[in-house]
């Protein structure tokens, strides 16, 4: 009989077994190209351009950059009827919301209206979503207010504050567009769903707390956003609370909440909650006008300038000493705006069964903010609440954004004086009512029941935002999410596998109660790539498995352990440290008189083992395609 290195019969089994293939070597350039393509162009954006004549390619290219030329050619009257209703509905929401959010950003209220005019027009040209409604949103407004507020007092130096806000918007736009152009959209994927849930709920609390200023009619208020500072600020000046404001604010808030409740119960009545803010603005303005409440402590908006957006390209201040703050604010708000806008676009596209291209959306958002920063607008996105109203109102295309922009334009040109008597407290109530809808506690409970770690991420974002600051909360949650990925690789699961009776299947004995271990053979599955971050752990862990198995066999008094089979099917990749580790494990096993067998190494693994000559070290005859064959060979030799 032909015997191998250790006196074991050699190849008797191997000749019948299916050999493990080493994938054909790929030229370096080709594999690099492939990696770059999968990393940066996973959606294969140039697919539709393939095999087209040049003239068609140009048309497709223009349609690719400006989707309006794509859907515009198929646009018809029935679409337009739907879009005009949706557009007017969202305009009626966006006018009061715009004014409220501008106050939150410590900007003059008119800038909220400006921001609902230019950006929607840009998005309508370039955006690929049919349902996103563009406008300012609470979190970015709050961040602009608080982050810039930390270096510049908006009341003392409003011009500088405005310049910084516009610069931050420009930075956000450039960042968004470049992420899209350089195909780095996947960075936004690292903001997980659970992060966003926690972050949104936290921001909602923080934004609502800020409204206590308006609702209680306070003149002075803390610049911080955390719960403790705000409550301290509120309760140290109880003597300055104005009951007139508070009563008015709470009444309006109740009305708005009731309107939302009705709309939630009966989706057909969506217009009630959509119209409620504008209605309350009108009613409360009339009320103030009639009762002269503005002379009795109820603050009003006052004069709003008539006219369209002034050009502000000269206000972008890159020489300012606060440039770094503007860049930081722009980066944070830009990323959050992207995350919100793209998540909204994706979910609604999923609902209506069409696709949106994340990177293209980023370019659209980026251009919209760059254009915005030059025309008196601050950071905008496609906020969830407004887009949901747009969808419910039956929008068909991005035309609804154009309708909204025109409505806002008319307001800017002719109707601004009407807001003179609008009380500030109604704006606060509108914000609070919008914010309360963002607290998705049901989803948090769902996370807890499904995945504890996701829940921890969600809660840390929430608590970080509420008790610390919006940026810190976000950073903590993202860091935790990344830590999870790193821990998955740094501490990979290893399972002992057993044989499922009447089959040639081997599965984890934890999962399959009927799986039987085979005396003398320890089968281990490694559930992650073997990388530098886990080689020390895996070496220890494999040795511990062997120790435990030997102890168990000793206490049973049966066969001693002879074979250790590593099931590598779930090992997606290996690096040089991993190759070294496999060699070391082989040596350690040999010292203990055990044979190491590898089963089903994947393409990457076997290729690198071959290059590093590890196949010769382990022995070709100890590498099998399937666990069945590996165990069969062991059993044959155990006999």
């Amino acid at each position: 009989m032909n015997t191998g290195e250790y006196g074991y019969p050699k190849f008797n089994f191997k000749q019948q077994a299916h050999p493990v293939s080493i994938p054909p070597p790929q030229p370096f350039i080709k594999s690099l190209k492939n990696t770059v393509k999968e990393t940066l162009f996973p959606d294969d954006p140039l697919r539709q351009f393939k095999d087209q004549p040049p003239s068609r390619k140009i048309i497709l290219g223009i349609q690719y950059i400006f989707p309006i030329f794509d859907w515009g050619s198929r646009y018809n009257l029935s679409f337009f009827k739907s879009d005009i209703i949706a557009g007017i509905t969202i305009a009626s929401l966006s006018i009061p919301q715009g004014i409220s959010y501008a106050k939150l950003a410590n900007l003059p209220p008119i800038f909220g209206l400006y921001s609902s005019f230019v950006p929607p027009l840009v998005y309508a040209m370039m955006g690929s979503s049919k349902d996103v409604a563009v406008g300012t949103f609470a979190v970015a407004s709050l961040l602009i207010g608080s982050m810039l507020g930390a270096v510049v007092n908006a009341n003392e130096n409003p011009k500088l504050h405005l310049q910084l806000a516009l610069t931050a918007t420009f930075v956000a736009g450039v960042l968004q567009a470049s992420l899209g152009i350089f195909r780095l959209g996947f960075i936004v994927d690292f903001l997980s769903h659970s992060t966003i849930i926690g972050f949104m709920a936290g921001s909602a609390i923080v934004v609502s707390l800020q409204q206590l200023k308006g609702i209680l009619g306070l003149q002075h208020f803390t610049q911080s956003t955390d719960l403790i500072s705000v409550l301290r600020s509120v309760f140290t000046q109880t003597h300055k609370w104005r009951w007139e404001c508070a009563v008015l604010g709470i009444c309006i808030l109740l009305c708005l909440l009731i309107a939302r409740f009705v709309s939630t119960r009966r989706p057909k009545l969506f217009w009630i909650s959509a119209m409620a803010p504008l209605t309350s603005v009108i009613l409360s303005s009339v009320f103030v006008y009639l009762t002269h409440a503005h002379k009795h402590g109820v603050q009003v908006i006052g004069e709003l300038k008539k006219g369209l957006n002034p050009i502000t390209i000269k206000e972008l201040s890159f020489g300012s000493e606060y440039l770094f703050t503007a860049i930081k604010t722009g980066t944070v708000t830009g990323v959050i705006a992207l995350a919100e806008g793209i998540a909204v676009g994706r979910s609604f596209a999923m609902l209506k069964n069409y696709n949106i291209d994340g990177n293209k959306e980023m370019i659209a958002f980026g251009m919209m903010n760059i254009a915005g920063s030059c025309t008196s607008c601050y950071v905008t996105t496609g906020p969830f609440s407004r887009s949901a109203v747009n969808l419910n109102a039956g929008c068909k295309t991005a035309m609804s954004n154009i309708v909204m922009a025109i409505t806002v334009m008319i307001t800017l040109l002719f109707l601004t004086p009407l807001f003179y008597y609008t009380p500030i407290v109604v704006l606060s109530s509108i914000i609070v009512s919008a914010m309360l809808g963002l607290i998705n506690y049901k989803e948090a409970i769902h996370l807890w029941s499904l995945d504890k770690f996701d829940f921890v991420v969600c809660m840390s974002a929430f608590l970080g935002v509420v008790f610390w600051s919006v940026e810190i909360g976000l950073v903590i949650a993202v860091a935790l999410s990344l830590l999870r990925i790193l821990l998955f690789v740094a501490r990979p699961k290893t399972y002992a596998l057993g044989h499922i009776p009447d089959s040639s299947i081997y599965r984890s004995i934890d999962q399959y109660q009927n799986a039987k271990t085979i005396p003398g053979i320890l089968i281990l599955q490694i559930d992650a790539p073997i990388y530098f971050a886990n080689v020390a752990y895996l070496r220890e862990r494999i040795l511990r498995w062997v120790d435990e198995e030997e102890d168990k066999l000793k206490s049973l008094g049966g066969n001693s352990l002879q074979y250790v089979v590593l099931a590598l099917s779930a090992v997606g990749n290996i690096d040089t440290s991993g190759i070294t580790m496999l060699g070391e494990v082989k040596k350690l096993m040999e010292r203990r008189g055990l044979k190491l067998i590898l089963a089903n190494p994947g393409g990457e693994v076997i290729k690198k083992m071959n290059k590093a000559k590890l196949i010769d070290v382990v022995g070709e005859e100890w590498i099998y395609l399937t666990l069945g064959e590996a165990v069969g060979a062991c059993n044959f030799m155990l006999r």
Copy 2:
């Protein structure tokens, strides 16, 4: 015939197939305990304490913390003979190296000797490696010199510089000990082998460049460490070069290199290279003494204080305005010291077939540096060069460190005046010769051939250190290494699987040329956990696979695609976003008239699918244990 939801025959196959098990639910506390154990206590350090009487537990506990009580009881005369030879050998290396490295750190030379006295004694008590020889090392010395030098000029304010260096050492010690105590040793695993190769080579270049000051006898030199600043500093003062120094330095360097070359060729002659530094110090000192070269421009060490380490506990300055710099320096040097010491300990333990406990080593290194900072020592570790000499000299236990410490103690008490005439240039030559050995270009070539990404990490560490700074190089390399792990998860590989003839095996058609695809059935393997970071990509990628397969089938004019089988065996875990994604893919497939089948979901996956009620959405009858059974069922229905 019993038919299911879509009119397909239901369960005909399922009854014969092996069902997929859902692992039994684990109480939350138990699974949390398990996760914590695997993350922080993977080596099961309390294993030996199990089932022991309390008195034995106390003895084991003391032996655990102070391994000297463990090996000390088995110590004998023959061990001692070996250790005394090794100890004297490393002392003869450590005395000149200690003085040289102290110069590199801009500290008085005597501190190099102090640092070779206390720390080795502490390590001998607490360390678990038999081969590590403790002392100062070049990178930490350079970092202390350059990082502290950036805020304090060591020549103008030597006392403050010394205080900061001691404080940094204390910080490094506390950091190291706490990483060990809180079982966070795995953080060091994130410094991959390729990072260390590149980092070491870069540091060697940078440290050697710094020696141009000593070799050329320059008085003024740049505080920066990057190649360009140093070369500019050297070549702008060519008129100040001293040829006497340069000639002497180059001669000594050549001798040292020849000695090393001989020792490398014939390992038995290790003592030649080990003794060479001390010999060259003695010879050059005698030479200077005889020729009065110190009066002709060759700088000498001058007076060294006699006596043992002064207590410096009062010098630790936590109130200093430079505390932050000290903390930063301590953190960086502490982590690098750990990485070097533990890598050395592990490799030598591997060689001699014993185990060292990483976390315990960290505590030992930490205590050694804390004790050191109170007794005039700066950051120490177990450097590679010195430990290799120790091993070659035949050390048996940590006793060799005690012998070295005693030799240094005798030097400090009686022999320091002998170093008066030692020229500084000889110290520079000793450093350069030690550094050149750290440039492992062969390993870099090996990395290139085996794993391109590892090579990129290695080169970026190298170039970052050489052209930027030591810390930046390290940060870039670690960030790239982490990026690789994140990209592995963010862009998981997906493979089409085919059937291997005459078997029930399905494998990647890229790896196995003989694997055949099955018309009408697309089998996809996903090679990473399904996490928030990849759900968007995977959804796109699965759709692209389906598109491509449908195009292919259309061009062939055969069967159309009917089934998409997802092979989940390599999906180690899934989070809530992943669960949502699977549900969405199911919906998308349905819209295209395709059936989605899942094969071999692992324990974690099926558990979460069950909790999220996704099993009902996908349909229990579409989840199979093996690909063979899944494809069998498809074929049965295709017929």
